[in-house]
Amino acid sequence: MRPKTTSQAGTFESSDVIFLIEPLPQDSGRKIELFSTVLHQYGESFNKIVVEMLDQYEITDIHLIARDKGALEPTIKARLETALRRSLVMEEGILV
């Protein structure tokens, strides 16, 4: 699956992360950029969570930027899921 539109989710607040997503041309693969206040301690596990979720949604051709301020795993997953659903136009229960 390929993102349909640019999207974002999350905030710049402490314990949160903001994800920015933009679709890339077909067959571009994944381009992931992570900026984190705890990159050295948790960068590897953060990347693992992101890749697993992109695999789960079968996402390719995506440019994903994450700016992390020490988010826990459930927050990372929630914000990425929200950004992905928004980029795939799969949200439910929103203002239309």
Binding site: E13, L72, K77, A78, E81, T82, G93
Partner: protein, 300 residues
Amino acid sequence: MKNFKKRRTMLYIPGNNPAMIQQGGIYGADSVLLDLEDSVALNQKDSARILVRNMIKAIDFYDTEVCVRINHLSTPFGMADLKEIVPLQPSAIRYPKTESAEDIVKLLQIIETIEDQHGLPHNQMTIHAMIETAMGVQNVFEIASKFQRIDAITVGGQDLTSDMNIIYTPDGAGIDFARKRIVMAAKASHIDILDTIFPDVNDEEGLRKETEYAKKIGFTGKAVINPRQIDIIHEVFAPTEEEIRKAYRIVKEFRTNTAAGIGVFAIDGKMIDAPVVHRAEYILKLANIEIPASDSLPDY
């Protein structure tokens, strides 16, 4: 009480704030209310819903009761909230702006359908009806008494004053009738009743006074918007040492007299009967004191 739970404080936590949610269990409130309604911006409803779902699954809230306030079913968000939250079976779902028994019938139909889809029982998660309109106040007894799953009702003072086109004043004059009517409906239905928030987090004396008043007229607890307010409310609702000693003595004497076939007796010249014993037992529960089922209780 249907099932005794300490609900002296219920801390509102905005559903889109991960820092506050992840610390929800350490503030010391009896309950936390993860809010998907008024504290979440309209364009962030999806984000909050997904965050709350993930947090409930992953975070340990220790002994704190976890409740979720959903959006009303008349909004574009209510149904999606239920689909996300009901499968998690938090301790309770709070339904805002409840105005009639029909509102609860409709809500329960949807909840039970979702529970059936997930093979969940219908008697685990309870409902807290929030009364915050004049119509809700008028219909509160029917709302409180008709449904086994409702185990608490709450007053939403800010919305109620808005609905009544009056200004909230520190003496609470405008909503005093509503408070007392709602308390009486809860008492008649043997369920908990939580007072509205105290909006000024810097006015500790005002909070104490309002909580003392709420306790005096029968509330079992109060909603909280800042962790700083928790200790003050717990202090007010805590029974005094004198009350605890007296309650213990009443329960002890009651057991002794019941065993001897005596229904009504006196302590210090005052008649003790079933309602007094019931009140004494409630005070001991509030004080976390369990009296062992023994004929020979020690004196204190």
